[in-house]
Symmetry: C2
Subunit: 480 residues, 2 copies
């Protein structure tokens, strides 16, 4: 489902998605990535001229209503039986944990005491009451339903600024090879070391000079470097997250020419009026956000031959720590090129985190001078000493210390509690202002993880285990 | 400890608290209320002209460093051995869960990658490196230590606007009576029903007319109604939270004359330039915040004879739901006085929640018109229909439905998972903007609760159980 939604984002011209609930209640869906999917829907609505309309001609319960909550407009059929509901608390002893609570009060502004009542009624709320409480935007009687949905869809479509006659591009299947200890794509690869609990991810920069204009972006289509690399990285993140739970540390490297990365970045920014260029930048933004909310330790290694510049520098800024080689490796000789990082336009606005700030702003929170100093160096390659002094990298050991420092950092990470690391990283990654996104991925996900793991939910007599058995859950009533 | 700190807040004149770490490392302190204590320290600093200076002449580790983080200024002795440290993650497999992570990055603006390194080093960071990373404000060599601390204390004291010659008031012991099923004070009482899992709390309004001026406030001292009532409520909240874990629902009532409550409120606000009046309002604010972060379901019952007005209306606004009787109870006859609520000046600014908004603003988040409509009615008693129409109460059943509706709401609450309720309520209570406070009490507390409950921390082979045994913890390495 994630893939299909994602693919649709690239179909220009079709301005409306209609999500009609089946006439029987939707099953509650606890799948983790549906949360990011919904976030993607909202992000696409805000940035791509798309609009999502939820036309609920039956009860939308749990995950079904959560999907509706991610839409701009919710219509509910007013037939004395159809409702919207979040029955997780009364039925399962857990929370609607994929953003439902936050979207109810923070996005739709349902009054919190009414929201409280709503989340305790397994049968939900329907009709005009649902509309009066802002749970839905309108409750429409059956006789006029089809016409009302068509009208609303047409209204939303008419507001879209997307070009009507544009042609989409074909998203060809990824050229992916997955062996037991290696995952490879044309621009991205990962070497897995299960014993060490690490994946070493290498992203390769563009192999050609940047094309000249938007026409060339469309001609290249799915093979356009930024789009191709981002699709591969996105796929790798999901693959590792879903299939490699015990690989807790991702070591991130890049290889290629920094100037080319910056030139491809600049082309996209220069062509931001073009729908495809716009979509590619927002897709890159969403993929980097996916990295931010990934519960793995991220360590960037910045070595000679790397291209941490602009869009790819974001990988190092997203990492929990970065190590940059000062000087050269002895075996390459003193004349070899040195590692450098380059701040680019992509680091200064187009790729914000979920907290609404750039990764540079988050990094230098409360230190405007340091942030300005880094931004002032945009376009200039910075070697290790300068990068460390500017605060762009964590540590800059030289050849003598490099192997040992990196080895300790990576091995040590594998010795720590993975739960505590997940908590630590999530707290640190989102310093600064909070948004609906950070609330959902920070606080609500945390609550949900905690509640799922408590005996009251998942113990032998817990509500999740007992659901559907006809037996009531047995709760330890202590409040903690 | 909480009590002693709290009591100190009322000692005018003494402007500096010095917290000197012992020369041996502080023990990590997981006690929950120390978190609120620290919050109280920061709140007091912001509002009472107090300043907290942490003078660390030894290692401050875990809870010791967390206490220092709550201060305005941290001095660390630079002696090549003293450090500050958050060793919870490497030593115990949990997080520094009482605000440490948030205060490091959001309050002190330690760069997040350096903060990451810091929280993985059980030995901590000391000397000039600690100062350069902003973990402390200054590292001072031993020869000049005493003098530097004295100077810094004098500087902080000179900035205080508190009156130098003011006399404090005596905080006399609370007149508390605690029976098995009843807790009583002069203005606050609680009837406990352990079988039902409920505490019915009644707060009584002032019995006299409001005194005329600030002199009268000082003369009344600890017996001044607002201060006395708040101290009793504060004590009751802590008592129930600490000792009655299975009493999950607090039913909140008031009794008295609304006009008097408003008059006492007004006196305090008129005298806000007086240090004691100022302290009392901030103490009431903190106590209401304590209610907000209490993991119990709060249901307000608004009946004839109640006085939910101004400061006491905050109790109903803090509740997860409120029920207000429409009309009169049949047994009292149609001529009896009806229940009313009254918005007052205390609801419009002086008592903000942790999110920085008033409870009215939080209630009407995103609906400025509804908020303005409620504020416009300030000073006028509102009966049930008006209060419900304005959105000030959740439901307004009449005598026929009252008993049944209230009974169902309360009984139903006891049937739900207490964990899920805690999560639900915490999410709903803090809609809107986030602050360091909401981060600490929302997200970080949630993470910490989750991590403590995971087998990796508290299972038979978990880090918390194994700590000090000489055996290493065994971790399930899956990241979730």
């Amino acid at each position: 489902m994630l893939t299909s939604l994602k693919e649709k984002i690239f179909c220009a011209g079709a301005n409306i998605r209609m999500l009609a609930a089946a006439s029987h209640p939707w099953k509650v869906n606890f799948c983790k990535f549906t949360n990011e999917t919904r976030n993607g829907m909202e992000d696409a609505s805000a940035n791509s001229g798309q609009a999502y309309l939820a036309a609920l001609n039956g009860t939308a319960s749990g995950g079904g209503y959560e999907l509706a909550l991610a839409c701009e407009h919710i219509m509910l059929i007013d037939d004395r039986s159809s409702t919207v509901a979040l029955p997780e608390l009364p039925l399962l002893g857990v929370l609607p944990g994929t953003g439902g609570l936050t979207r109810v009060v923070d996005k739709r502004h349902v009054r919190r005491d009414l929201a409280d009542y709503f989340a305790t009624k397994s049968e939900g709320v329907g009709g005009q009451r649902a509309a009066a409480w802002k749970l839905v935007d309108e409750a429409v009687p059956r006789p006029g339903w089809d016409q009302a949905v068509a009208e609303r869809a047409a209204e939303l479509a008419s507001r879209s600024g997307r070009p009507a006659g544009a042609r989409g591009i074909a998203l060809t299947p990824l050229a992916k090879r997955r062996d037991d200890d290696r995952i490879g794509y044309p621009h991205v690869s990962a070497a897995l070391d299960r014993a060490a609990g690490t994946a070493t991810i290498t992203i390769t920069g563009p192999e050609q000079e940047a094309p000249p204009d938007a026409v060339a972006i469309h001609e290249a289509g799915a093979s356009f470097w930024t789009l191709a690399m981002t699709r591969e990285l996105d796929d790798l993140i999901l693959d590792l997250r879903s299939n490699e739970l015990e690989i807790g540390t991702w070591v991130i490297k890049t290889a290629g020419e920094a100037e080319r990365v910056l030139a491809w970045d600049q082309l996209l920014l220069d062509q931001s009026g073009d729908w495809l260029a716009n979509e590619i930048v927002h897709y890159l933004k969403r993929t980097l956000k996916r990295l931010d909310v990934t519960s793995r330790s991220l360590i960037a290694l910045i070595e000679p031959g790397s291209c941490f510049a602009g869009s790819l520098l974001e990988l190092a800024l997203a990492a929990d720590r970065s190590y940059m080689l000062s000087g050269v490796f002895e075996e390459t000789g003193a004349a070899a090129a040195r590692a450098a990082v380059t701040v680019g336009a992509m680091n200064l606005g187009p790729l914000p985190m979920g907290n609404g700030l750039t990764r540079l702003q988050t990094r230098f929170l409360g230190d405007d001078a340091a942030q300005a100093a880094a931004a002032d160096r945009a376009g200039r390659p910075l070697e290790a000493e300068a990068a460390e002094r500017l605060g762009l990298v964590t540590f800059a050991p030289d050849d003598i210390d490099w192997d040992e420092e990196v080895r300790i950092a990576v091995e040590e990470r594998s010795s720590f509690s993975p739960d505590a690391l997940t908590g630590l990283e999530a707290n640190y990654r989102f310093a600064g202002p909070e948004t609906i996104e950070t609330k959902i991925f920070g606080r609500l996900s945390a609550w949900q993880n905690w509640i799922f793991n408590r005996p009251n939910a998942s113990g032998p007599d817990g509500a999740l285990r007992r659901f559907g058995t006809g037996q009531r859950a047995h709760f330890d009533r202590k409040r903690v």
